[in-house]
């Protein structure tokens, strides 16, 4: 299967470790991974902040870059949701690029969807002997309806102790540019999320989206809590040999 990695601009620039983890995980599971170098950004920040024209340009660029692959895997629930749920509305049927969107968008999968629905594995043979709690992130939960896919994968990681996060379904307050446009409310939401994370006694907070983790993790760091953030891919890529 020819799988393309859509790294997303945030991961590409700030969290390359997540990308490397996806590559090693998918290869371990027998996939041939390609990284189309022309890829850039899905356009979510622009569209959601009200800059639709820029967003449409980025959407057209995305579909040109990823045309022709069997599957596109993104280690981000929110970028995958952008492509699959928002592109078809953004690039209207009949307008330029709409056919390409209709063809490419359904092939874009968030990592846990790809593992469970396409590769049909829920035990990826990982080893990670730590106490972990999982934040489901809004777009994964209510946009993509990932359900228990990520936690099923985590439950099968050897050594990992998964503790439930109270009020897990509540937004962490990141919300893209919301975090800087409404900093007070964003921080207040982040504070409640952090309180819940600390209550679990976990060492690691895991999610399928580094942007939300960047917000919660930034708050965890600022408060010197000692809890670290990790993307789902990095935990699933960890093995006994690689410890």
């Amino acid at each position: 299967m020819r799988v393309a990695l859509f790294i997303t601009c945030v991961n590409d620039t700030l969290f390359p470790g997540t990308g490397k983890a996806v590559v090693s995980l998918l290869r371990r599971l027998g996939c041939e991974v390609d990284f189309p170098a022309a890829q850039t950004c899905c356009g979510q920040m622009h569209v959601n902040t009200g800059y639709r024209d820029e967003g449409v340009r980025l959407a057209r660029h995305f579909t040109e870059v990823f045309a022709g692959y069997d599957a596109v895997v993104a280690p981000s629930g929110s970028c995958a949701a952008m492509v699959r749920e928002q592109y078809p509305k953004l690039v209207r049927p009949g307008s330029r690029g709409a056919t390409a969107v209709a063809e490419v968008a359904p092939k874009v999968h968030e990592l846990s969807e790809f593992l469970i629905d396409v590769l049909k594995v829920d035990d990826v043979g990982a080893y990670f002997p730590h106490r972990v709690t999982y934040h489901p992130t809004c777009h994964s939960l209510r946009g993509l309806h990932l359900g228990d896919r990520p936690t099923r994968l985590l439950q099968n990681v050897r050594g990992l102790e998964l503790v439930e996060l109270p009020a897990a379904q509540e937004c962490c307050g990141f919300g893209g540019t919301f975090a800087v446009k409404n900093p007070a409310v964003s921080a207040a939401m982040g504070a409640d999320k952090v309180r819940n994370v600390l209550g679990t006694g976990a060492e690691v907070l895991c999610a399928a989206d580094n942007s939300c983790l960047m917000h919660i993790g930034g708050t965890l760091n600022r408060q010197r809590t000692g809890v670290r953030i990790m993307h789902l891919a990095e935990i699933l890529a960890a093995t006994e040999e690689a410890q």
């Binding site: 170098a37 622009h46 340009r57 809004c138 307050g173 919301f178 409404n182 964003s186 930034g218």
Partner: protein, 463 residues
């Protein structure tokens, strides 16, 4: 919209920044919204066909809105046939004038009111006061707001920002006759309100209401409530004036089957509300007037994306699940419609020319909890994003977003920008300047890596 809220200074972020530091408000809101949230989740969860009901609610409202012209005329004919009078009001001023004249014709100077969003939207109480008419709110929470000279902060529970100790203070301060030794027990407070209101009910010859639904087929108006005060207002006075937004229509009587399930479960978290009053035209000699209110609704109807906001049945489920509303409170929205529905309705009804109104579409993290809870499936995030594209953006932001778009639209430019960031990674300050300080005020920045993913791939993997 409401003259009381109109021209409110500030912006949502500024108002909210003050509200989040108010520990009493935060506590009240958390407690109240979480309680209603839980009740709603239980009664919605017990219905196996909730999603079908929701789809039916959406479909009925969409059908009504598509043929609103026809249904409105049908409604007018049915009400007239049943002995009622129908008036058409283009905007708030016209509606207030019509109601004022109708009251004047009765010779009365005092009226009782049933809780209604439409009359708040048009600032009816204030307009009547200017004409020498005093309007008395009879809903307990509205009474608290009115006595406290305050603004409502929730659609269903307008005094949600008050706790019982504060309510007791307001009663002691503002009620003419307060029972001796009034405590802050809910039962005692309700009893005090009851005594205060009883006289008004018996004395008043004119009542003003809104309606939750209007049935075009029969000309029937429907009000759902919990306290029974509405029933008293609707039945006792000699004249009843109902001000209702034109989108409150339902085509047929049988459509109520769907909405009488959707509304109480979404709103108060009850299977059924205690009182449902229905009336058609003039009943038992009562003089009945229906004022059909547009006030910007036909403009909303013309907008392909935004028109779904007119499906709203004002249940307030979206407020109760909204993490932003929970922390910012209702007043931050500067409108009688707070929360997620307010963030999409207010800018459509009164435009986005003020700083406050232009900030409302951004009063959301787009978490989608509102859409999931909405009983008529209004895709609130979709409308928010659409409104954001229509707001006039600040020049500095627009310039920044253009540059970002230009860099992000090309791999070479993106790679160059990334290399620039990694080269100077050690120089990035812990606290960023300007608007980006909004990030570093409360959060650390992530470390910028030595190498972007694409450069790593290029170095190691490019065959």
């Amino acid at each position: 919209m409401s003259s009381t809220f109109l021209g409110m200074p500030g912006s949502f972020p500024k108002n909210a920044a003050k509200a989040v530091q108010n520990s009493q408000l935060r506590y009240n809101l958390r407690k109240a919204t979480h309680t209603i949230r839980g009740k709603r989740a239980n009664v919605v969860g017990e219905l196996p066909d909730w999603q079908e009901l929701r789809a039916a609610g959406k479909a009925i409202k969409d059908e009504t809105l598509r043929h609103l012209d026809r249904y409105l005329v049908q409604m007018e004919e049915a009400v007239t046939r049943a002995g009622g009078h129908v008036h058409w009001a283009r905007d708030a001023d016209e509606a207030n004038r019509i109601v004022g004249e109708l009251i004047k014709a009765t010779g009365e100077t005092e009226v009782v009111k049933v809780k209604s969003m439409a009359t708040q939207e048009i600032g009816l109480n204030e307009a009547l006061a200017a004409q020498g008419v005093t309007a008395y709110e009879t809903d307990l929470a509205e009474l608290i707001v009115q006595l406290g000279d305050d603004f409502p902060s929730h659609i269903l529970v307008p005094a949600i920002h008050r706790n019982r100790a504060e309510i007791r203070e307001i009663f002691l301060d503002k009620m003419e006759k307060v029972p001796e030794g009034l405590t802050d027990e809910p039962r005692a407070l309700a009893e005090a309100a009851r005594l205060h209101l009883r006289e008004r009910f018996l004395k008043s010859k004119v009542a003003i209401s809104g309606a939750n639904f209007m049935v075009a087929e029969t000309g029937t108006l429907v009000v759902l409530e919990s306290e029974g005060n509405g029933r008293m207002c609707l039945t006792l006075p000699e004249t009843l004036i109902s001000v209702v937004g034109i989108e409150k229509l339902l085509p047929a009587w049988r459509d109520l089957e769907v909405f009488l399930q959707l509304l109480p479960r979404s709103s108060t978290g009850e299977r059924m509300n205690p009182y449902t009053s229905m009336w058609t035209g003039s009943v038992e000699g009562q003089d009945f007037h229906l004022v059909l209110l547009d006030n910007g609704r036909t403009d909303v109807l013309a907008d392909e994306v935004g028109r779904q906001a007119l499906r709203c049945i004002r249940c307030s489920a979206c407020l109760n699940v909204c993490p932003v509303y929970e922390r910012a409170g209702g007043h931050a929205y500067g409108s009688v419609y707070p929360g997620p529905i307010g963030a999409i309705l207010t800018p459509q009804l009164r435009g986005m020319s003020s700083e406050l109104d232009a900030s409302l579409p951004y009063a959301s993290s787009l978490c989608g909890a509102c859409f999931e809870a909405c009983p008529v499936a209004i895709d609130i995030p979709e409308v928010l994003v659409d409104l954001r594209a229509k707001v006039r953006h600040k020049p500095a932001e627009r310039a920044g977003m253009r540059v970002a778009g230009w860099i992000l639209n090309d791999q070479v430019r993106l790679a160059k920008a990334q290399r620039l960031a990694t080269r100077f990674r050690k120089l990035v300050p812990k606290r960023l300047p300007g608007p980006l300080s909004a990030w570093t005020d409360t959060r650390d920045l992530p470390d910028i890596p030595e190498e972007s993913f694409r450069d790593w791939w290029e170095r190691n993997e490019r065959a």
